[in-house]
Amino acid sequence: MKSRTNPNRRAVVALTLAALAVAGCSGGSAPDVDKAWARSSPMMASAGAAYMEISNGGAADALTGASVAASIAGRVELHESRPAEGGNHGSTPMMEMVHVERIEIPAGGRVMLEPGGFHIMLLGLAEPLANGTELEITLSFEKAGELKVVAIVGDGAP
């Protein structure tokens, strides 16, 4: 007799999941990515940006790069928007956007990629980023290696 609610099978599944979870932890520093999103872009825009929260339950790591399919953008870079040095005008500094080689993810810490700060810049968009669509981004971490995340296209963090 076949039962959909076989308690033994459920226990096995639960144990397997628990084992996988433990394995994930002992694997060390795999960073966890949450709330990944990219801003929708106008028809004629050439550049876009993606944002996310990266938390790290393990040892210190660093985001060292990101990539997307060539059908999405020609080039992907890690960038930071920040007040420009020496360009202060009273309380309203110039903002500049700089290419960064790495974004440090401290041990046990959380780093926000958010508007006005760190972001993943998509250059040479093949097509506009349309509201409600999804975008797969492959993140490269120094220690944890590659991690694929799905960013939702919209106009704010999900």
Binding site: R39, S40, S41, P42, M43, M44, A45, S46, A47, G48, A49, R75, H79, S81, A84, G87, H89, G90, S91, T92, P93, M94, M95, E96, M97, V98, H99, P115, G116, H119, M121, L122, L123, G124, D155, G156
Partner: protein, 205 residues
């Protein structure tokens, strides 16, 4: 019929409340930054749209002109600002939103054609005016009047990637050509909407 009368009635009451609110409102209620003395920019003129018709930095009567100096290849700061302004306009009543125009002055005319800027404004805010000049002195002088600084990295004419730094402040100009409030980068959509509603209330007094 009855509901229409009710709706009109509610609008009248809402308008009365707004007038009452504005009569007692002062600049301290604004969320953005105000300067003393107020900045006057009504005589600053930049070419607008495909035809390059002169656009003074002054709103039409009983309207507001939101002025921003940026560039459309900017993936982070500019679209965040434009998107927040667009959402703030959505929070206003339709008739109030129609009294706000957003002027986007490009600091990067090499990449930003008028068509690109207009498409950009359509995407984020709807009611916009594209400001573009190829005269660097005219642009710098106009920006300086607002206190805007910008720096465009050296590049070849057909380069697609180069960096631009710019003051990321949004200026709201009233129908006298006075900057009524300035919004620093990162101000919330609600704060923008609140300031616009307050200033529009004053304008119609």
């Amino acid at each position: 019929m009855g509901s229409q009368i009710l709706r009109v009635g509610l609008r009248v009451i809402a308008a009365a409340i707004m007038v009452a609110a504005c009569a007692s409102a002062d600049d301290a209620a604004l969320n953005g930054v105000t300067r003393q003395p107020a900045l006057s920019v009504g005589d600053v003129v930049l070419p607008s749209g495909e035809g390059g018709s002169p656009q003074a930095m002054q709103a039409d009567p009983n309207e507001l002109l939101v002025v921003y100096f940026g560039y459309t290849s900017c993936p982070d700061i500019c679209p965040t600002t434009m998107s927040d302004i667009g959402h703030a306009l959505d929070q206003l009543s339709g008739s109030n939103a129609d009294r706000v125009r957003v002027a986007f002055a490009t600091v990067d005319p090499d990449r930003d054609t008028v068509a690109v800027i207009e498409n950009y404004l359509d995407h984020f805010v709807g009611r916009g005016v594209a400001l573009r000049t190829e005269d660097p002195e005219l642009l710098s002088a106009a920006a300086a009047r607002f206190g805007v600084q910008f720096a465009v990295a050296e590049h070849e004419a057909d380069d697609l990637y180069y960096e631009v730094a710019h003051t990321a402040v949004t200026y709201v100009v009233d129908d006298t050509g006075t900057v009524a409030v300035e919004w620093p980068f990162g101000i919330s959509r609600e704060a923008i909407a609140g300031d616009l509603a307050l200033l529009l209330g004053k304008e119609s007094k």
